[in-house]
């Protein structure tokens, strides 16, 4: 799950980066409306955490412009204003969820998983491909009832492939899901992780589509 955090407070930004990464998300952060709009329009985020009061404007305006441009990226508003009228205003402006400060980190992560899931058109919290189950909430994977130990990166790769069964994911897309902007992308990391995953969940589970990328095999 790749998350964009728009927040200008350095301590909170650090907390969101580290905290959401602990729950398995890849986090990128920006501190202004302008940067947020640029980042979101570049695409690739499963969800956005948007602060309402930013140095160069209001998060509500960013949201309104986003929705006016038919951008459907799920957005969770994170603001100090959490009276009922504020929540109503935020949700009506196009937010998918609304959380007041201060908040619980676990709740924020759960809400982000929920809106990201909905964004991908899924209702079930657990990802499933044949006998393979992936639980984004606990970062646990089971194959036919047996626990499969996965690293954080492996989990991210597998989640990216399983979110849309049958759809081909390019190498670049998978890399985006594994690394934030500030992280060094290791060359052939994707290949290495796919190789390791195949060893853990079966050689035929992930199909290589030459020149395009990877996808989960339908019958796996």
């Amino acid at each position: 799950m790749r998350i964009l955090v728009v927040e200008d407070d350095p301590v909170l930004m650090n907390g969101l980066r580290v905290g959401l990464a602990l729950s398995g998300a890849t986090v990128d952060g920006v501190t202004s409306c302008a940067d947020a709009e640029a980042a979101i329009s570049a695409g690739g985020f499963d969800a956005v955490v948007l602060d309402a009061m930013l140095p160069d404007g209001s998060g509500f305006d960013v949201l309104a412009r986003l929705r006016a441009a038919h951008d459907t990226t799920p957005v969770l508003m994170l603001t100090a204003l959490d009276e009922t009228p504020d929540r109503v205003r935020g949700l009506d402006a196009g937010a998918d969820d609304y959380l007041g400060k201060p908040f619980d980190l676990d709740e924020l992560a759960a809400r982000l998983r929920a809106i990201a899931r909905r964004g991908h058109g899924r209702a079930a919290p657990v990802l499933r491909a044949g006998g393979l189950l992936l639980d984004p909430a606990t970062l646990a994977a089971t194959l036919d009832g047996t626990h499969v130990p996965l690293s954080r990166r492996e989990f991210a790769v597998l989640a990216a492939l399983m979110e849309r069964p049958g759809i081909i994911r390019s190498r670049a897309e998978i890399e985006e899901r594994m690394y934030g902007w500030q992280e060094e992308v290791e060359s052939n990391a994707v290949e290495v992780h796919i190789h390791n995953l195949r060893a853990k969940i079966g050689r035929d589970a992930i199909e290589t589509v030459r020149g395009l990328g990877y996808r989960m095999r339908a019958g796996a």
């Binding site: 907390g15 140095p55 400060k101």
Partner: protein, 440 residues
Amino acid sequence: MTSLRRRLFLVLFAATGLIWLCAVAWISITSRAELEHVLDARLQEAARMVHSLVAGGNLSTTPPAPLSPEGYERQLSCQIWSLDGRLLARSSGAPEEALSAPAQGFSSRVVNGEDWRVFTITDTEKGVRVMVGDRVGLRDRLVRDLIAGLLAPALLIAPLLALLIWAVLARGFAPLSRMASEIAARDGEDIRPVAVDHAPSEVRPLLGALNSLFAKVEAARQHERDLTAFAAHELRTPLAGLKTQAQIALAAPDAAIRDDALRQILVSVERSARLVRQLLALARLEAAPAQKPSEEAVPVGPALREIVHHSPAAPGIVVEIDPALDDLARKVDREALHLVLRNLHENALQHVTGPGGIRWRRIPHGVCVEDDGPGIPEDELPRVAERFFRGRNKSLSGSGLGLTIATLAAGRMGARLDLANRADGTGLRVRILWPDAHGA
């Protein structure tokens, strides 16, 4: 009297009544004069007629029985006297006493307690004196009846007129009451402007004033909302950061992440502590009554050096203090002076991020501080002294209260702050200006 309608009604009704009364007075005066003239002419004519009928001295002296006059009948009375003073003849109703002193022409006289108007013809040839007169009381009655005839319908019509005026006024004031009920029907939240287009021109200035008041109220409300929002943001964001970092410290699997989270918690607590200190300073400034000028002059230079000593600058930032400030002392509240200097210094420290300097200088009428920070966007300059306002160039650790406190504290010591971007490059220049030269 507060009802415009009632007042207008009374004024209109009284004015109409007054005009009527004037008309009545005028008519009564002119008709009385006219009546006198006509009646006098009749007297004269009647006297001439009687005189022409009289043959010299052959009148019987048997007077007819006098009758008391009723109505306007027997209004005229006639006497014929011989020149030696014998009453030769008189009309019925005429008194036996002479109506007039022997004379010629018109005269007035009281006979038997009644006022008479008499015309006398004395004829020496015929040896008679003819006197024709009428009672002044009767004349007055004639005039009174005439006036009464005029007044009676007027008095009958008066209530109708009042009703008409009242109804017309009600109609005239209908737009006002429509507007009043429209505004009265609104709830407290609804302060949209009232439509001015269809209002009578007399009411428009009032509506205009009302609308501009609405606009002011709306602006004040918006300001209040902004302030609440800023305050909530500034107070809750550090709390959210603290909570998040604390949860990370509890949940982190490895020690490095845990240590980093604890360090972030320390930073956040320091910031929150400063915020609380500033909030308390702000509350004290707002609650304190206006200070009397202190008896003791407080030197600015040493106070400034103490503040600079307690707020260590980051490496690469040079703080210069003009030695001339040591000679500047003002009779002001010591705490207010410290608040101004400390908050301006901290504000400068927060905004000078790279290598650069903060320069405190003495200027005519005050103190000036310049920094090498990014300055303040021109459009934000009027707002930076608002509580919790942090502009686009905000520092990472600011609270949005420093300049508010500095401005209030400056006011407390009779000075004012002048904020401007430096003309010679980037950075802010703040001047503390005392309008007078006393105590310097």
